[in-house]
Symmetry: C2
Subunit: 198 residues, 2 copies
Amino acid sequence: MAGKSRNAARSSHGERREEILAQALRLFSEHGVQQVSTRQIASAVGISQPSLYAHFRTSQEIAQELCVRAFRHLAEDLSRALAGEGGRAERLRRAALAYVSFGLDNPDAYRVAFMIEKLVDHRAQAEQGPGLAAGLEAYKLLRGGISGADGTADLIAQSVWATLHGLVSLLIARPHFPWVDKAALIDAHVTRALAGLD
Amino acid sequence: MAGKSRNAARSSHGERREEILAQALRLFSEHGVQQVSTRQIASAVGISQPSLYAHFRTSQEIAQELCVRAFRHLAEDLSRALAGEGGRAERLRRAALAYVSFGLDNPDAYRVAFMIEKLVDHRAQAEQGPGLAAGLEAYKLLRGGISGADGTADLIAQSVWATLHGLVSLLIARPHFPWVDKAALIDAHVTRALAGLD
DNA sequence: CTGATAGCCTATCAGTGATAGGTTGACCTG
DNA sequence: CAGGTCAACCTATCACTGATAGGCTATCAG
């Protein structure tokens, strides 16, 4: 019955943990999440590959933690946009643009949260937890900004969200598609996404 | 100059090739593309794992071939919807609904074509070829159905496409999100996607 | 029969995420 | 200071992944 609490470290104040996250973020941004191995991360940090598992239970947990932090950032952006001055339409538009900007500026986090199919099939539904939860937070803010209190707030919010997500995810996943001018596309798309919400 | 054409089989009329594709499609649907290994596919077909490489250059090529076929299917659906009877709005709506249905019915093909980041970074841009090409074909049909001939057809078409894609990809990637009634959501979303296209 | 070749096999590779179990060193308590 | 605890790290190793090398066999054209 010796100590089997080997991997139970997870001290949230660990500096090493932060260093791992920092290097992982850098490598993810450089080479894409899927192309980075645990050995690369460990090597960048200067430790052995198994040592990562003293700080994270699985390799996915690293990506997930980065994703959660990024989405906290998004939630702040949205809050700020929605709370600022201007009429409802103006604030909504600002929020929508913030959403798109966030996705394009944090493509890896965005992928982890909304574009990657986890092992959803057989595992518990809540398994994809952190990533989804962080995204849900952002969604709720959007819904709050939309709510016409007519009972269809969720339906409209989900449609608007899907509309914005569509452009972000396509621009991320297919950067070499013959897009029209991106700035004009984003502007027109956001306008169309929010049309008829009076 | 002895025969180095080991893996250069690729006889497009091979029955084995078809059998491999059929088993791969089944396994992909059951377990998800990412969770299926070449050994599983080979085992299901009844051959050894390396034998797959006599019919396909890489494992991705299998998924890509399935994806191309699925998108040929989508192009047919869209053509049929756009060519049928009814006014422009009615035909467009039918096409949009066909697009969404296709995505939800062929989530794996859809993922391969539009949701997965290939090794885009360092490789040639055209590397992601077949999947993108097949999807492009479908996009062109959509653009053709929209074209108001006012020069902004591409911008509008890309926005509409992104709008539809957004819902499809979110429903695929996040099946456990607390969605409102899906039929109602799809209906409302398509309506919003096509609003103001007169 | 001869030679080419399509299709398959076994053996093997490097690289992947993950686990097992031992070693070190800082810290706190008696 | 002695002894215990424990976080953090190591090496060795696992099962599995996609992919390659090279040899065997059956079929078919000449």
